[in-house]
Amino acid sequence: MQTSTNNSTTSVPVLQLVDPNAVRRSVLTMLYRAKASHLGSNMSAIEMLIAMYASVDCEKIRKQKSDRSRILISKGHCAAATYATLAHYGILPMHLLETYHLDGSKLAGHVSHTVEGVEHSTGALGHGINVALGCAMGLRSRGHVNRLVLALVGDGEIQEGSIWEAMMFAVHLKLNNFITLVDNNRISSITNTEKVIDMRPLKARFEGFGLNVHEVDGHDVLAIMSAIEQIQKDNLPGVIICNTIKGYGVPFAEWQPMWHYKSLTEDQYTEAIDHLDRLKVA
């Protein structure tokens, strides 16, 4: 864990932030060891995950307090990045990362609620967001109105109709503690999302549903945190479109749909780690 200095573009206070480079290194090692897939989707979401957990009280999550803020991973296939982030925040024992995707482990390729810190098991898309909405309603009903519910969805995932059921109802209820973060990496399963269903202009579509929409660089942790903070000041549920690069930080995988599926060879793993080393030195 390293201390991040605040910059002039945001009002987010100085916090202990996890280093994206360190999480990326953990994820690469997990994926390489297990010959696992979903490299691209994991890499695009790392800064988002870091920002989400930095925006809530992780101690309450660690202790499973009933009044904790909830973080729901609706795009469950970014499990490696989620588990690595949880480990770097001290919620999940670091040594468990070594078991990812291996025989007998509870750390599967999609997030599981049997793992410390994970609220809900997902994998099929368009599920976590509705559960997140239920959490937000439940928090309000219990009187914990200042607790957040942050839900991470993919930009391919928002093709699921259930996503929009949740959006409509969240706006109707004016749940301003309910914030959806869209990993807008613009590649879904087999190709670019705009070739499948062109959702542009995405911001206007969410705004058309009545949501409080922010659009940020999805690899800027502080910008994401600032947007989360801004949304809470309003009285509407929020959406943060995080513009990301699928495979971010692994140059040969960036923007490549095939890295939704491929697993790393030894040479590719070495090349990716070397790249992170150079970034760290720089």
Binding site: S66, H120, N130, V131, G134, C135, M137, G138, E165, M168
Partner: protein
């Protein structure tokens, strides 16, 4: 039956602050009292069944005990994956309330015929399934389900039947002979009781909890009968006939198993359930004919 179930949930809400009622815009004249009295534990989520189940799962995360209400087909078929993943995989104590069964909605057509709801759900491993046949059973069902703390589905028949007057999951109405046993649930159970009144030799087994079945009680109930006829307003292969066949295959039951019930969907219009009972041979006359025809051989 619906009113009884709703009243029971309302009673539980008075003393249990975790009970939460949700509807997908169904239940006019029944559900308003939840909103009026407990607005923080009521939600009409709109015509959005996937959201209904997902929200219910989120409420369990906060310690609530949700009851999710809409027409049986909509709550089972529209959001089957939500039931599998968000309820079943998590073993969440959510109760799905399905209004109407079999041909309760007769003239509305096959989208509203409830003939493959619980059979579909039976494919999932850990959801209890109930179909109350009488008000007596329905009266305490909600309390039992809350105590059990498991995922559950209640298939709620239209009607307000007083027989059998019992809270048991399985009720045997013994006949004068051991030859024929009719096995049924929900509204067709009433038809079987009528058959027994016509022919006192017939025994009737009414099953209110369709899963899990009590092995010992079922074994004792089926034992000694020469003919076991399952009568249901649901596809038999995935319904109770399928369950009884599975049971008999693994237990020393020697009676011959037979089935009466619908085998496919139909677009044919019938203005009442009785029209379809006759069409599919589960009306009183048809059941008696089947019993007597085989008796003649």
């Amino acid at each position: 039956m619906r009113g009884q179930i709703i009243d029971s949930i309302f009673d539980q809400m008075k003393t249990n602050p975790d009970v939460f009622f949700l509807t997908a815009d169904m239940g006019i004249g029944l559900v308003e009292k939840f909103e009026e009295n407990y607005p923080n534990r009521f939600s009409n989520v709109g015509i959005a069944e996937q959201n209904l189940v997902g929200i219910s799962a989120g409420l369990v995360n906060l310690g609530f005990r949700p009851f999710a209400y809409t027409i049986s087909n909509f709550i089972i078929h529209r959001c089957f994956e939500q039931i599998r993943n968000d309820i079943g995989l998590h073993s969440y104590p959510i109760t799905l309330l399905g209004t109407s069964t079999g041909f309760d909605n007769a003239p509305l057509g096959p989208t509203h015929h409830i003939v493959d709801d619980w059979g579909t759900l039976k494919g999932l491993p850990n959801i209890d399934i109930y179909c109350p046949s009488s008000l007596s059973y329905a009266a305490n069902l909600i309390e039992k389900i809350i105590q059990a703390g498991r995922p559950a589905y209640i298939r709620i028949p239209k009607g307000a039947h007083t027989e059998p007057d019992s809270e048991e999951n399985m009720i045997k109405l013994r006949g004068e002979s051991d030859d024929v046993l009719l096995v049924s649930y929900g509204n067709p159970a009433q038809l079987c009781i009528e058959v027994r009144k016509e022919d006192p030799r017939i025994s009737v087994l009414v099953i209110n909890r369709l899963r899990p079945l009590d092995d010992l009680a079922l074994s004792e109930a089926l034992d000694l009968h020469k003919r076991i006829i399952v009568v249901e307003d649901h596809f038999p292969h995935s319904g109770l006939f399928g369950s009884i066949c599975e049971f008999i295959a693994t237990h020393p039951i020697h009676g011959k198993i037979e089935s009466l019930g619908p085998r496919s969907y139909t677009f044919e219009v019938g203005t009442s359930p009785e029209y379809f009972y006759k069409k599919y041979g589960i009306d009183v006359t048809s059941i008696l004919e089947v019993i007597n025809k085989k008796d003649d051989k």
